[in-house]
């Protein structure tokens, strides 16, 4: 039944509504171009690509992925269209292979809506090509056929589009790559394959600048922090059972992956389940060396389970829809049975089958959601401050920690299937990428009833909430926050940081303040990089702050000159590896005057929003999740209290 095509071979298409499935080992971009009788693409509006995913009759996906499903309705494409080219391309500038030869041969299949495969084609013999025309669907005497093309282009998308007669080929290719890279900023990074808690102990060779920010490696730093457990007046939050190498000794010879401590305490035993009912969920019911690590793994496990459970439900409902449609079509297409009681009965039956399957799927979904909700109910109160909501009681008993936690809560995620089931969004520390808190309305759904001034204020508040949390979860004096607020327009939002004294200097204002601040941080990145490369950490000047640095940039790009923009890009690129992080509070539209020079900046940051917004994708099945930032409840003084403790602890340690 399935025709396995070889290059150049064609095959008739039995129907006009089709799905084209693409699978490749690595994320690729899939698109389609429409051609007239001569095969010429008449303009950019004849190209379906991630930035413009929908054309009449064609629907492609918005982001690069290893698997794609393109929906095609050949009955709906314009009359002038005689060819539809399905094209694949490797995303540029986001890492990953740059030529098809470096990855497994892509596989494309044309299937009916019900999943029956009509034809398939494995694109072999690709080498240096980075874009390829996979299939061509074309009209021949009123009927549509498919041809396996497999024409690759080493010049990438631009060369391919140019070859199809598109005058603005290069510009469009750039736009597509831009949209794809932007898609990367909208996706949650996948969890590390086996989180084993490295980076949990500061002396371990954690990614990022842990080694360089190691206080003990800098002799000028007078009192090294006391090892966990022996701190004077000890805020004894050293983490039970994590007694790995302390941060005391000058040199640590221990293999970072090896522990000398006793085996971790086993997870709390689950109470025996009542027969016939699922086991009662327990907080910390996952693998890990410490309770924090177990909770972290458990939260990621819940995230994956929710993603997959929703995928199961959605695929069952889709299947029920398509089966009913097919059955109703079947009744309609036979003139003998189109009318009359038999037809009515058949229609009724098709609808009943649909309802039954959807109900069954919903029941399974509800069962799984109830289980996850019960788990969330026990997990949420057990979370340590770094993972907890601001209204959690653990913040009331907050103590300045002795070591950095493994992750930080940025907010929570939920799916439309059940809005009250919230999964904490945890990112690993030290931060691997900066944050961009989008203060613009672009990309927000229309339903968000907030005007742009209010949105800016919320964005600044969100930045403060994230910064306060970072300050609180790092040990005393090991995290420094700087603020650039050129026009001083967010002074009210930054007031809690300033009042409590955690900011070492007031927000930088004016062009001069901006350039001084950026110069100082650039210098720090340069010096630490040099020290790391030459292995001379003790040669750093004594006045250098070796704590991790966070720079909050408010109201970008007002008050920034070209030089400042270049420095920001440098900080975004080079900073994270030496412990300098960026938090941009910006509306991308405002920065458009700078043109594409800023695109790498946006795409290197994780975009989050100050209001609930559906823009983050999970790493497994790519659902759109609604992100909601972790904000301080109105009227709560928790941030002030926590920051006061941070300042007290700094004074106690003489930092």
């Amino acid at each position: 039944m399935t025709a396995e095509l070889v290059r150049g071979q064609n095959h008739p298409l039995p129907q006009t509504r089709l799905e084209i499935r693409v699978s490749a080992g690595h994320p690729i971009v899939a698109g389609a171009t429409l051609g007239d009788e001569q095969g010429t693409v008449r303009g950019t509006e004849w190209v379906a690509h991630p930035a413009a995913p929908q054309l009449p009759g064609i629907d492609v996906s918005r982001q690069a992925a290893a698997d794609h499903r393109l929906a095609v309705d050949l009955g709906a494409v314009p009359e002038a269209v005689h060819r539809v080219n399905v094209l694949l391309a490797l995303p540029t500038g986001v890492g990953g292979p740059t030529r098809f030869g470096a990855m497994p041969a892509p596989f494309v299949a044309v299937t009916g809506l019900d999943g029956t495969e009509v034809a398939s084609y494995t694109i072999t013999d690709l080498d240096s090509e980075s874009a390829v025309v996979a299939l061509e669907l074309y009209r021949r005497q009123g009927a549509w056929k498919v041809r396996a093309v497999g024409q690759g282009y080493a010049g990438g998308l631009a060369a391919m589009l140019h070859d199809q007669g598109l005058p603005e080929a290069a510009a469009l290719a750039a736009r597509i790559n831009e949209a794809v890279a932007q898609g990367m900023a909208r996706s949650v990074a996948p969890p590390p394959p086996r989180p084993d808690g490295e980076g949990r102990v500061r002396t371990a060779t954690a990614g990022g600048g842990a080694a360089t920010a190691e206080p003990a490696a800098v002799p000028q730093q007078a009192p090294p922090p006391a090892p966990p457990g022996t701190a004077p007046g000890g805020p004894g939050s050293g983490g039970p059972g994590s007694g790995g190498p302390g941060s005391g000794g000058p040199v640590n010879y221990q293999h970072p992956g090896r522990r000398t401590s006793a085996p971790p305490t086993p997870p709390p035993p689950a109470p025996p389940a009542e027969p016939g009912r699922p086991a009662q969920p327990v907080a910390g019911d996952a693998s890990g060396w410490t309770m924090d690590e177990r909770l972290y793994n458990q939260v990621w496990g819940m995230f994956e389970d929710l993603a997959r459970t929703a995928a199961a439900y959605r695929s069952a409902v889709d299947f029920a829809d398509s089966r009913m449609e097919k059955e109703l079509d079947g009744v309609l297409s036979d003139p003998r049975t189109r009318f009359g009681p038999e037809a009515d009965a058949a229609r009724e039956q098709a609808r009943a089958k649909h309802t039954a399957l959807v109900e069954q799927a919903r029941a399974v979904l509800d069962r799984d959601l109830a289980q996850l909700a019960a788990e969330a109910e026990v997990v949420e109160p057990a979370l340590p401050p770094a993972f907890a909501r601001w209204d959690s009681p653990v913040w009331q008993a907050y103590q300045v920690p002795m070591e950095i936690p493994m992750a930080l809560r940025l907010g929570e995620l939920h799916l439309p299937e059940r809005r009250d089931l919230r999964i904490p969004m945890l990112v690993r520390l030290p931060l691997e990428r900066g944050l961009w808190i989008d203060s613009g309305r672009d990309g927000l759904s229309e339903a968000v009833a907030v005007d742009s001034g209010e949105l800016r204020r919320l964005a600044a508040d969100t930045a403060v909430a994230h910064a306060a949390r970072l300050l609180a979860v790092y040990p005393a004096g090991e995290f420094t926050v700087h603020v650039i607020d050129p026009a001083g327009s967010a002074a009210a939002s930054f007031a809690p940081l300033l009042r409590s004294g955690v900011l070492r200097e007031p927000p930088a204002t004016g062009a001069q303040g901006v350039s001084a601040m950026l110069a100082a941080l650039t210098r720090r990145v340069d010096l630490v990089q040099m020290a790391v490369r030459s292995g001379a950490a003790d040669a750093l000047p004594p006045d250098l702050d070796i704590a991790e640095q966070l720079l909050i940039v408010h109201d970008f790009p007002h008050g920034f000159d070209d030089r400042a923009v270049t420095q920001l890009r440098y900080l975004a690129d080079e900073g994270p590896s030496v412990g300098v992080h960026l938090m941009m509070v910006a509306d991308r539209r405002d920065a458009q005057a700078y043109g594409p020079v800023l695109d790498p900046l946006w795409r290197s940051l994780l975009r989050v929003t100050p209001v609930p917004d559906e823009h983050l994708a999970d790493p497994w099945v790519g659902h759109a999740w609604t992100y909601e930032p972790s904000l301080v409840p109105a009227g709560s003084q928790v941030v002030e209290q926590v920051l006061a403790r941070v300042v007290q602890a700094r004074q106690a340690y003489g930092r």
């Binding site: 399935t2 497994p104 993603a307 199961a312 029920a320 799984d368």
Partner: protein, 192 residues
């Protein structure tokens, strides 16, 4: 107690104590190709692949194989591609885990297949077997010996299908030829 299954034999996946199975594993094991004399390091590896095709109403809706290790819903997981086989001591070299409780409701049949990706026929592969294991207690439910399977490069192993509220397994054991499960689709369809 292991059942050595023969073609067409059906067993219901009911436990002895009356409870139904919740998780099963299809394991596939084979012995690596023997080294030969001079230039013995030149690879002649045997790569067998286990796949599971998920059907809803006789339409394939998802496949779990070495290029797609987890079904979208997460209920069927492949433990990873093994390209060379094991020592032939009876351990599984590739395995597919099925969480039967979480299989989406529209999926009513799951077909397990084995293919020889490198093209050796089962007559050439030593100590190859395929088995179905109750994942909750490790008990082997059924076992097939592939070795001596004649001049074939693929086999449709077994079918797990919904049976009322539970599941039932049927041994298929039909030999076929093909490199991946895609080549087997025409042979699979009659068994649905």
């Amino acid at each position: 107690m292991t059942v050595n299954m023969s073609k067409g034999q059906a067993i219901s996946l009911q436990k002895a104590d009356g409870g139904t199975l919740t998780a099963v594993r299809m394991g596939l094991g084979w012995q690596a190709a023997p080294r030969r004399g001079l230039f013995g390091s030149r690879t002649r590896e045997i790569d067998l692949d286990a796949s599971a095709v998920l059907f809803a109403d006789k339409q394939p809706v998802d496949v779990v194989f070495f290029r797609h290790l987890v079904s979208d819903d997460g209920s069927v997981r492949h433990t990873g591609d093994n390209l060379v086989g094991g020592a032939g001591q009876g351990g599984d070299d590739e395995a597919i885990l099925v969480d039967l409780q979480r299989v989406p409701v529209h999926i009513d049949q799951i077909i397990f297949t084995v293919n020889s990706f490198t093209g050796q026929t089962f007559a050439e592969v030593q100590n190859a077997f395929c088995r179905l294991v109750d994942e909750t207690n490790g008990q082997e439910l059924a076992r097939y010996t592939l070795t001596g399977g004649g001049q074939y490069t693929a086999q449709i192993m077994a079918k797990v299908q919904r049976d009322g509220a539970g599941w039932q397994m049927k041994a298929v054991g039909e030999p076929a030829n093909g490199r991946t499960f895609q080549d087997l689709m025409p042979h699979i369809l009659p068994h649905l």
